[in-house]
Assembly symmetry: C2
Amino acid sequence: MRIGILGSGEVGRSLARGLARHGHDVRIGTRQERVEDLPVGAPAEVVTGADLVFLSVLGTAAVDVVTSLREPLAGQVVVDTTNPLDFSAGRPELFVGHTDSLGEQVQRAIPDSFVVKAYNTVGNALMVDPDLPAGPPSMFIGGDDDAAKTVVSDLLGATGWDVADLGGIEVSRYLEPMCLAWVLYGARYGTWDHAFRLLRR
Amino acid sequence: MRIGILGSGEVGRSLARGLARHGHDVRIGTRQERVEDLPVGAPAEVVTGADLVFLSVLGTAAVDVVTSLREPLAGQVVVDTTNPLDFSAGRPELFVGHTDSLGEQVQRAIPDSFVVKAYNTVGNALMVDPDLPAGPPSMFIGGDDDAAKTVVSDLLGATGWDVADLGGIEVSRYLEPMCLAWVLYGARYGTWDHAFRLLRR
């Protein structure tokens, strides 16, 4: 697949390297001229004609970024990996929750795109080919379009993940707090290579 | 241990049977004269002198119940298994979240007790001796008192659980949404014997 990644931080770079390893044609959409040794392009150019777009910017920038790209993102599957993290209080909190979520805000900002919330309940080091004892871990996803979720689920399945589809994009209200559970465990025990798995009979 | 359980619904009855099987002296605190064949008593009587109290009433009743028992619960460890579930919209939602949680409301209502949020991210059928492939599952807990969390963690460890302590009682803001993730998966796939595990290296 041709994959465009919005975001040149740790998440974007990890996804770019990991997905390129699987043979995908990956570019990072950024205004920077270089992002390490990764292929880059202007955001609008990178998402145009992509088979899949990842939104991996800071949570505080997510809505602005997709709003500015509403036209080139129309009709496309957008994987929203962001979390509404707010560190201003000294401990991590969410800047939206309960009756709304960042996933829903992103979907509302690009109503002609198919947003799938995914990759937000695990750290960037494990996003592609997570190698954990007693795995595979489970990626919890949500989104309003079943075909878009199939694209994302197939990619997850091919890169080492079990998938647990929880429903529409509004399940971001529950997936974004799960990120905080992941963050708090990591901060408490000084570990960042943990991940959720959903055990079933 | 002598264990008092507030709540005679499915959760209370499952905990009562499961913990009695482990040799604990368990009674359900209720105003009903009988709850199947389980030992019962008046709520204030059952919690007085208990080594551990479970709060397993409906989320909508949780604060009222503990408020009415503030004196007999003083100094005691109270395991808050409740969730702020609201089914009035036709789909399950939470009636509190983001900047507050039911766990915090319960702790504020009984400031002289040591509230531990636990058992709220799994169904009652798996609360004691969960037998799942690729287990054990992980119980996510939070509470402000370390000694209280040790009591609960020891019980969990003895009854088939891995424990992941996320911090103070305010982590209920993240554990209660995880219940919704659990519920939504069950509702979508018609299964109620699933549980989270936290994989670590």
